[in-house]
Amino acid sequence: MGKKVALTGNEAAAHAIRQINPDVIAAFPITPSTPIPQTVAQFIADGEMDTELVTVESEHSAMSACIGAAAAGGRVMTATSANGYALMWEMLYIASGMRLPIVMAVVARALSSPLNIHGDHSDIMGGRDTGWIQLISENSQEAYDNIIQAVKIAENKNVMTPALVAQDGFNTSHTIEIWELEEDKKVKEFIGEYQPLYPMLNTDEPVTHGAWAPPNWYFEHKMNQLRGLLDAKDVVEKVGKEFGDVFGRHYGLYETYKLDDAEYVIVAAGSVCGTTKDVIDTLRENGVKAGLLKIRLFRPFPYKELADTLQSAKAIAVLDRVSPAGAQGGPLFTEIRSALYDTQTRAPIVNYTYGLGGRDTQPRHINSVFETLKRIVETGKVEKQFDCLNLRGEWR
């Protein structure tokens, strides 16, 4: 049996990494993810892990070292945040293009400037098209569970694609929550031994990794890579079920909360979902049919499955913890809205940016979103397709 522990999200990630005990970790500290490699370094120093920890001079080097170690045939992990993740950007494409199943814990944080070390989704959303699998966690338990599952998903022979597991900076990473730490042995059994496909260190069968592909080859390789990423969807579902069968917590592509008969629906990802669930409970007590669609798997985006869950909604609000940066809305909004175009519903759908740079999102803010959805249904009019939550001054 696992045991209940009271630890932070960062410690949850570190414990998952300790139990996975990868061959190599190359990492560079950056707030708010620093406690992950720091705690892991302590585990190694205490002899609880035998991972080779490579302390590098930058996140670009961290991901580069991870790529080298993974090409050599190792099980490889790392952790980062914000500008560190951004500095990895070039190497993220190389990891996914080389089909190396690296697993990375990302503690999502705002990108400068202005300089800000607090939580939002600017980093992971900026890297959404790097070809990585992206799983977003609501709380410490999910951060822990998702990292364990990510190893099995990424290393699946049909997938062989790197995966990141995000948790919200500070809201989750530095908050002590009670969650279930499973037994080391059971976690090790669940993930199994890693069997690399073409390890460079196998000198009996020499291979070349990271070679050049001219115009008559590159396109085919990129589409072969896309197939692997898309195939991750079914594997995420399968591993989520297997995980539930072993540990009692089942996971799917997404989570619904009181969504079946919901008329007013919020779509969101990350720690704000906890607050939203709380608000929904209160609204339900007052007879308001409110519900939540929580995004778990953001890449590959399970657009069909997500759209299917939204068919009964009368009005939908999508919350993005990132600036739309000149698009019609935030990335979650544009993808959800696009997914709905092929379906029957023509429910009005609006977008909110919230929580930038660690701005608090409280129950009253979520409540105001449901109030707006109710007004949209009552009047049949969308006054603002895009708005901000808890911003000083009205956005116009």
Binding site: G97, M98, R99, L100, M160, L197, Y198, E205, P206, V207, T208, H209, G210, A211, A213, N216, W217, F219, E220, H221, M223, N224, Q225, R227, G228
Partner: protein, 116 residues
């Protein structure tokens, strides 16, 4: 260079290459704008050119001695000329246009005659 162009669902995962050494199928000599010309008369057989050549385009004979340039692969980067320590240098760069239609022997005479 006959290579079979595979479809997207036939290529090996991650652009991995399982048949090492296949760069031999790729003739990079056509990239050249300039070429090194070798003078065996002043060459001291230090093999620096062979060590430094990034394309293994320095030919070596059965006795392990420098035997000329492999123009099928030489990209004309000039590193061999830069490294050549003999005085005068035993390798010199010339434009491909200057080399056109001439044998190696003719070029040697043309390039190195003033240094005899």
């Amino acid at each position: 260079m006959a290579e079979k162009l595979l479809n997207w669902d036939e290529v090996l995962i991650g652009g991995t290459i399982k048949d090492p050494g296949n760069s031999k199928q790729y003739e990079t000599g056509s990239w050249r704008v300039e070429r090194p010309v070798w003078n065996p008369d002043t060459c001291i057989q230090c093999m620096f050119c062979w060590v430094y050549c990034p394309d293994s385009a320095i030919k070596v004979d059965e006795n392990g001695k420098m035997a000329g340039i492999d123009y099928t692969f030489c990209k004309g980067c000039g590193i061999c000329v830069e490294q050549c320590p003999s005085k005068p240098k035993s390798l010199k760069m010339i434009l491909e246009s200057q080399a056109k239609g001439k044998t190696e022997e003719e070029l040697r005479k043309e390039v190195f005659s003033s240094e005899k």
